[in-house]
């Protein structure tokens, strides 16, 4: 049973790990391979600050809220394990700021200690009249992806540095199931007009006195188009850019200035922070995550694709819930192929 995962960002690697953990014992013939043209530290997941926080509204998509919760609970369970530091996992608290009262988010009971801001706290943020305080998690891609890679390599999963041009290419080699975790470039494998880039740009600064995340919201300009400050373990990320439909991965001077000016207004001490890098990336935005099976006919063979892409700006936030769901889909494929609870038989 050969399974190929396309994509080595947080979605691809975690889906691979989840499937291997659950099925390698049950399916002795399971061979897992990861194909990607970019590996850490060059994936979209590496550029993200790594804060666990869903969007403000789930638009009634309860499935995604559940996957977010599964991810949070899974990570919280690992917080005290010796692996936490290596995973890039730690607790962080902070502020979400608004210019007007808003309904509580779908995730208010998932995070810890969710509450409204007091008037004295709001004094810190002139121009904002309402907000939340809560404790959430950071999962830094720069650490998490290598950690996932190590776990996978220990399990004998093979990695291939190549750009897969089509699903057929893999099926022709004898792959039985493809996990499509190709993020922004899924459209190259199978057209999907619903998948669009949500371009982001960030500035990395040294500001080790900042211990809280601060995320502002401008309901008119939309998610992530308002300044945010997220302190990591080595540097602090300043951001506030979301450009729908913009495919450019070049850093824009105009965006840099906008981020810098708006973040320094938000947190005046940042004026003394030293800039140490910047990065642009494309959030693989979609009205909802595409997480589903697709059967592909190849002559008289039936091949299976499990799609798991379109996680926008909340990939890290939702990744484990999606990995588990992808594993469940894989399980149902195994059932149908009667691969479960049966001895290794002739290859399909």
């Amino acid at each position: 049973m050969r399974v190929a995962v396309i994509g080595a960002g947080v979605i691809g690697l975690s889906s691979a790990l989840c499937i291997h953990e659950q099925f390698h014992g049950l399916v002795p013939s399971l061979e897992l391979e990861v194909y990607a043209d970019h590996f850490t530290p060059h994936t979209t997941s590496d550029g993200a600050a790594g804060l666990w926080q869903p969007y403000l509204s789930d638009h009634g998509n309860l499935q995604e809220t559940l996957w977010n919760k599964e991810t949070f609970d899974y990570l919280l369970g690992h917080l005290h394990s010796p692996a936490a530091k290596e995973m890039g996992l730690f607790l962080i608290s902070g502020y979400n700021l608004f210019t007007e009262p808003v309904p509580d988010p779908s995730w208010k009971n998932i995070v810890l200690g969710f509450r409204n801001l007091t008037p004295k706290e709001l004094e810190l943020f002139p121009g904002y009249s309402y907000g939340w305080f809560n404790t959430a998690l950071m999962l830094e891609g720069r650490s998490y992806l290598p950690w996932l890679t190590n776990r996978l390599m220990q399990r004998g999963v093979k990695f291939f540095h190549k750009k897969v041009e089509s699903f057929q290419e893999l099926f022709a080699q004898g792959v039985d199931v493809v996990l499509n975790c190709s993020g922004m470039r899924s459209g190259d494998l199978q057209p999907d007009p619903e998948l669009q880039p949500g371009r982001g740009q960030i500035i990395k600064v040294l500001a080790p006195w900042v211990k809280h995340f601060i995320i502002t919201h401008d309901l008119k300009s939309g998610i992530y188009n308002s300044p945010y400050i997220i302190p990591g373990s080595e540097f602090t990320v300043l951001g506030g850019i979301y450009q729908h439909g913009n495919w450019s991965e070049e850093n824009s001077a105009k965006d840099r200035k906008s981020i810098w000016d708006s973040c320094c207004r938000l947190l005046p001490p940042l004026q003394k922070a030293k800039m140490v890098g910047e990065w642009s990336g494309l959030r693989p935005a979609r009205p909802s995550v595409r997480l589903e099976r697709e059967s592909v006919r190849l002559g008289n063979l039936q091949a299976e694709v499990i799609h798991n892409y379109g996680h926008g700006g909340f990939g890290i936030t939702i990744h484990w819930g999606c990995a588990m769901a992808a594993a469940r889909l894989f399980g149902s494929i195994l059932q149908e192929k009667k691969q479960l609870a049966s001895p290794p038989g002739p290859r399909l």
Partner: protein, 341 residues
């Protein structure tokens, strides 16, 4: 008296902040700071500088609250200004956890810190040995940055600073009109205060930049305080011990206790051990006194004995001491003075 000459003895957080307050309330004063130690070698440099008040048994609570409020307000303003990083002042959130529910669930300072509330059950799960907790956001003054910033502000006013060990306040009477005693633990020798006693504290300073919250055990003995570059892990409270040498057994014990509060500290690097003597007293001595010797008078203002709570009340006691200096000046100028508490 055109330009009263004021000597401030001591260059820890109390001496420097008191000197600065004096330059603010009495711009015509000439202020000189004298100390045998300056940052980074003061007791203040060992402390984490967290704004979580210590309760003095014999100081009225309303006075402690006033001191804390004034200090918090002063630092809050700096924390949100471009000077914050240079001054070493930043906000930090976290938890105070108790193994058994405390008698007093609402400390006197709960409405001064930000967002004070009891911890939820979900939050307490992170601390399996603890039953009750409080979550809040407060301020931290990192040293040396804060002390160096105070020194810089002082120099800008024209105040002078000299390394000098003062063994007797009378040494100063010919050069200075008023002496302000902020000698901390040094006041034991300097003014023979038998009510002042050391409480030895050992701490570790470690590199663990993923720790973004403070955690304090309500017993005050174990704490994790993340600063700008290092996390302070504590601690110990040895009443009557004058030893400034780090004790390896205590180091191991502190590390173990902190790791049980925050397991990720197992991965902490570059651990440095420091020791300080908390200048402890049943009440902080903020008081005027006129010393008299062979017909010569020397006005003295005392501001020492802050024990474990120096940073939390420093600005409040500094401004009270500066006010007392003002009274000394008025008295010297022959105006009537009001008896102060």
């Amino acid at each position: 008296m055109a330009s009263p000459k004021v000597a401030v003895v001591g260059a820890g957080v109390i001496g420097l902040s008191t000197a600065l307050c004096i330059t603010e309330t009495c711009p015509s004063c000439s202020v000189t700071v004298l100390s045998d130690q300056f940052s980074p070698n003061t007791t203040s440099d060992v402390a984490a500088g967290m704004l979580i008040p210590h309760t003095y048994p014999e100081t009225p609570i309303h006075r402690q609250k006033q001191w804390f409020k004034e200090t918090f307000t002063y630092l809050f303003a700096i924390s949100n200004s471009p000077e914050a990083s240079e001054a070493g002042i930043h906000l930090v959130s976290g938890w105070q956890v108790f193994k058994s529910t405390p008698k007093e669930e609402l400390p006197f300072w709960s409405d001064i810190v930000l967002g004070f509330r009891p911890m939820s059950q979900a939050e307490l799960r992170k601390f399996p040995q603890h039953r009750f907790g409080q979550a809040f956001t407060t301020l931290k003054c990192d040293c040396p940055p804060y002390l160096l910033w105070l020194e810089k502000r002082l120099k800008a006013t024209g105040a002078q600073m000299f390394t000098r060990k003062v063994t007797d306040l009378w040494e100063l009477h010919s050069e200075y009109d008023i002496v302000v005693n902020c000698a901390g633990m040094g006041a034991h020798q300097l003014v023979g205060d038998q009510q002042l006693f050391p409480v030895r504290g050992q701490v570790l300073k470690a590199h663990a930049p993923w720790v973004k919250h403070f955690i304090r055990d309500g017993d005050g003995l174990t704490y994790v305080y993340p600063g700008i570059h290092r996390v302070t892990l504590g601690g110990s409270r040895e009443k009557g011990s004058w030893s400034l040498s780090p004790d390896p057994g205590t180091t191991r014990d502190i590390f173990d206790r902190c790791c049980s509060l925050e397991p990720s500290l197992q991965g902490a690097q570059d651990i440095e051990v420091k020791v300080g003597l908390r200048p402890s007293r049943q009440c902080v001595r903020v008081q005027r006194e006129v010393l008299s010797q062979e017909g010569v008078k020397l006005p003295v203002v005392h501001n020492y004995g802050h024990g474990a709570g120096g940073f939390s009340v420093h600005r409040g006691t500094a401004s009270e001491a500066a006010h007392l200096v003002g009274e000394c000046i008025s008295a010297l100028q022959g105006s009537s003075s009001r008896a102060k508490l």
